[in-house]
């Protein structure tokens, strides 16, 4: 059932109803109806989120934005676009690339994940390292508050980028759909860089690869992306798609530099030196735009390839200070080994953002619990190392209990104050982000039988 979960499939709940409005006015009518009947409302895009953030834990009405999918206006002079909330991320870049522009945030889900969903989780992607996440590229949006009032937050479609008063736009981005339903968004468009240097660097060990990443950052070079893939994931991708990745590599890095043609090769030389210093076995530059596209396709196919080697998997999303990358990689391998589970790693290594993929089989008794334990141990270690439980996937229901590990009761209380200003009744996407007694009682990490 589509609406019983998102891409985090360890827990499932069905809503009482699903509404798919076609306009802001229709959203307002649904929201007001829910307000009258005190029903939970759950805004939902295409359900690509990875933390159970659109689960109807208490029932209620899912308000899907998939029919709000028009690009309303592109303002080339001011490098902005006005789009509806359900427009998939990639549609924006596709609409403007002929004019040398792009929408910078590039989550792996970008062909299907929606702009409002990107706002809910402050989505990032491989290129966040240089370009920042969603919050750096969304100027403003409207929002239907849980009582039905429509407010515009941040820059209006024809207004300046600085707005009087508190930064409500900034406060909403990353709030996991708990403040209201967004229907229209003003995004910032960036000039597409003219020059790229992308290469695949092959290492004998994940250790060498992660040290290379730390060294490049420490040398004062910020590539636009540095993506790490370890041996299990490299093999899985190669088995599935035959990109020509080395099957025996300990780990590979995809490093991309971008900017102007002038000076870029000297930067590339410095990066190459640092790779060699850390025992890089092979450096394969992408020589054509097609080869570059193939490298990125290979990275973004990672999750698709896992389905072939494990019946189920859960992905984590912790972040550590970049210098702690080698340490957390060791921890991940040890944690999985102790529990007898398989694990593969992709990581936005330049950001210190890990994505260990833990394999399990829900048909084997105890496997789900083990995967959950492994996953939780990794995230806890990230927090201990001075990092965070999630870099881009969000807390949702999955990591709600871990919020109390990362933050104090007073920190969480301050967040609740913000939530109350938007949603005094706590009806919008309830039971997410905050530790809640309810979910503890009901949580039973196994597949529920689909209706």
């Amino acid at each position: 059932m589509v609406y019983e979960c998102d891409a985090y499939t360890m827990e499932k709940h069905l809503p009482d109803a699903v509404a798919l409005p076609r306009s802001t006015e229709e959203v307002v009518r649904v929201v007001k109806l829910c307000a009258e009947h005190r029903l939970p409302i759950i805004p939902r895009g295409t359900g690509t989120s990875l933390s159970g953030a659109v689960l109807a834990v208490d029932g209620g009405v899912i308000i899907g934005t998939t029919r709000l999918n028009r690009i309303l206006n592109v303002d080339y002079r001011n490098r902005r676009a006005l789009v509806e909330a359900g427009v998939p991320n990639l549609w924006i870049t596709n609409a403007v690339k002929q004019r040398g522009l792009m929408f910078a945030p590039d989550p792996s889900s970008q062909p299907s994940s929606t702009i409002a969903g990107n706002i809910a989780f402050n989505a990032g992607g491989p290129h966040t390292l240089k370009h920042g996440a969603t919050t750096n590229h969304v100027l403003g949006f409207d929002m239907v508050l849980p009582d039905g009032e429509v407010v515009w937050l941040g820059a209006t479609p024809d207004g300046g980028e600085d707005v009087e008063g508190y930064d409500l736009r900034g406060a909403v981005i990353g709030s996991e759909g708990m403040f209201g339903v967004i229907t229209r968004v003003v995004v910032r468009l960036m000039k597409t860089p003219r020059a790229f240097r992308t290469m695949l660097v092959v290492f004998n060990s994940a250790d060498d690869a992660s040290r290379t990443v730390s060294d490049i950052i420490a040398a004062g070079i910020i590539p636009v992306a540095m993506e790490l893939m370890d041996q299990p994931i490299t093999r899985a991708i190669e088995d599935a798609y035959h990109f020509g990745l080395p099957m025996d590599a300990g780990a590979v890095l995809i490093i991309e530099l971008e900017g102007h043609e002038a000076g870029i090769d000297r930067q590339l030389e410095r990066v190459t030196e640092l790779c060699r210093k850390n025992n890089a076995r092979d450096l394969k530059p992408a020589r054509t735009p097609e080869e570059r596209a193939a490298l990125w396709k290979c990275r973004k196919s990672a999750f698709g390839a896992i389905g072939r080697i494990s019946p189920n998997f859960v992905t984590q999303d912790g972040v550590v200070p970049r210098t702690k990358l080698p340490e957390i990689m060791h921890f991940i391998y040890d944690a999985a080994k102790k529990l007898g589970l398989g694990v593969a790693n992709v990581a936005h290594a330049g950001d210190g953002n890990i994505h260990p993929i833990i394999f399990y089989d829900e048909r084997i008794a105890g496997d789900v619990e083990k995967a959950y334990a492994c996953s939780t141990a990794i995230v806890r270690r990230c927090i201990e190392l001075g990092g965070t439980a999630t870099g881009e996937h969000g807390i949702g229901v999955e990591k709600a209990e871990l919020m109390a590990v990362q933050y104090s009761a007073d920190d969480l209380d301050a967040m609740q104050r913000l939530r109350r200003a938007f949603d005094p009744e706590g009806r919008c996407n309830p039971h997410k982000m905050f530790p809640s007694g309810k979910r503890c009682l009901n949580f039973n990490p196994q597949r529920q039988v689909a209706v």
């Binding site: 303002d75 002079r77 001011n78 750096n136 009032e149 407010v151 515009w152 937050l153 207004g159 300046g160 600085d162 707005v163 009087e164 508190y166 930064d167 409500l168 900034g170 406060a171 709030s175 003219r194 730390s214 950052i217 004062g220 910020i222 900017g259 102007h260 043609e261 002038a262 000076g263 870029i264 000297r266 999303d317 972040v319 550590v320 200070p321 970049r322 210098t323 950001d351 210190g352 953002n353 990092g387 965070t388 870099g391 881009e392 996937h393 969000g394 807390i395 871990l402 919020m403 990362q406 933050y407 104090s408 007073d410 920190d411 209380d413 301050a414 967040m415 104050r417 200003a421 005094p424």
Partner: protein
């Protein structure tokens, strides 16, 4: 006033709010790093003031405002409790972004005490050029022309010292020596560029004789028309690339804050007894 923690290899630094911007930059300089921000009066201005009042300078066009550089903060709530928001790593999606909410809130919601920033390597080269025009329209036409090229300036300003006379467009580039040289050369093909400094911004803020500095934010495409319609302005500096105008003289009025009811509810939630008054830099 202190640097609480500095991890140069992670490109992060944590400072107390009463640290001046100049002191912070000095601390980062030996590792050839900086916080790429340049609001006026860095030797006097504290990090707390920059965060509370969301202050920025000419390099805003290339590097963004202060909220783009904040990773986490400690703040004192109105009831005296200390809280932390964010995490000291470059990416964090855990919890609501109170850092952004508190930035620019003038201390009305909480008192910011400590801030963790992501810092950047200093660019290898940086260069600024100016082009002078007789009218604001001609100046803005040049800005627009520059914008349609592949050039990526980090500064794109427009200024006028006394409300009349020539209009100066300032263009700045930063990066590797090669890319800065190439971009300067390309700009030179569009107009006669002379080397310049960014001291005009300090000058606007330094003069105290003519009352406060006001601010207007418009679409960049409406910059020329907006400025042409302004009356009684004695000095003006605009972030032409951003559409933000700072000026002295008669207040031209600003837009009303949107979502007023929501903002009132927010203020009430964070400071029910109305203890926290607005700070001015």
């Amino acid at each position: 006033m202190s640097i609480v923690a500095y991890a140069p290899d992670d490109l992060t630094v944590t400072v107390t709010a009463d640290t001046t911007l100049a002191a912070l930059q000095q601390h980062l300089a030996p590792r050839n790093q900086w916080l790429p921000m340049d609001p006026p009066n860095p030797t006097r201005l504290t990090i707390g003031e920059i965060v509370d009042c969301d202050l920025s300078g000419p390099r805003r066009y290339g590097y963004g405002t202060v909220r783009e550089h904040i990773l986490s903060m400690r703040a004192e709530m109105a009831d005296g409790r200390m809280i932390k928001s964010g995490a000291d790593v470059v990416k964090n999606a855990a919890g609501y972004d109170l850092c952004r909410l508190f930035t620019g809130a003038r201390g009305e919601l909480a008192t910011v005490e400590e801030i963790c920033f992501k810092v950047q390597p200093r660019p290898e080269a940086e260069q600024f050029g100016k082009v002078t025009f007789p009218t604001v329209e001609a100046a803005c036409e040049f800005v627009e022309k520059l914008d349609t090229t592949e050039l990526t300036p980090t500064v794109l300003d427009l200024h006028n010292a006394n409300g009349a006379g020539p209009w100066t467009v300032v263009v700045g580039f930063a990066g590797t020596r090669e890319e800065v040289d190439w971009q300067c050369k390309q700009t030179g093909l569009l107009a006669a560029v002379a080397d310049t400094k960014l001291d005009y911004d300090e000058q606007l803020w330094a003069t105290t004789a003519t009352g406060p500095v006001h601010k207007l934010s418009v679409l960049p495409s409406k910059l020329a028309a907006t400025i042409a319609a302004m009356r009684g302005v004695s000095a003006l500096v605009a972030r032409a690339g951003n559409g933000v105008i700072y000026y002295r003289g008669e207040d031209q009025g600003t837009g009303l804050a949107p979502a007023a009811r929501l903002m009132q509810r927010l203020k009430h939630e964070f400071d029910p007894a109305n203890k926290l008054q607005a700070r001015r830099a």
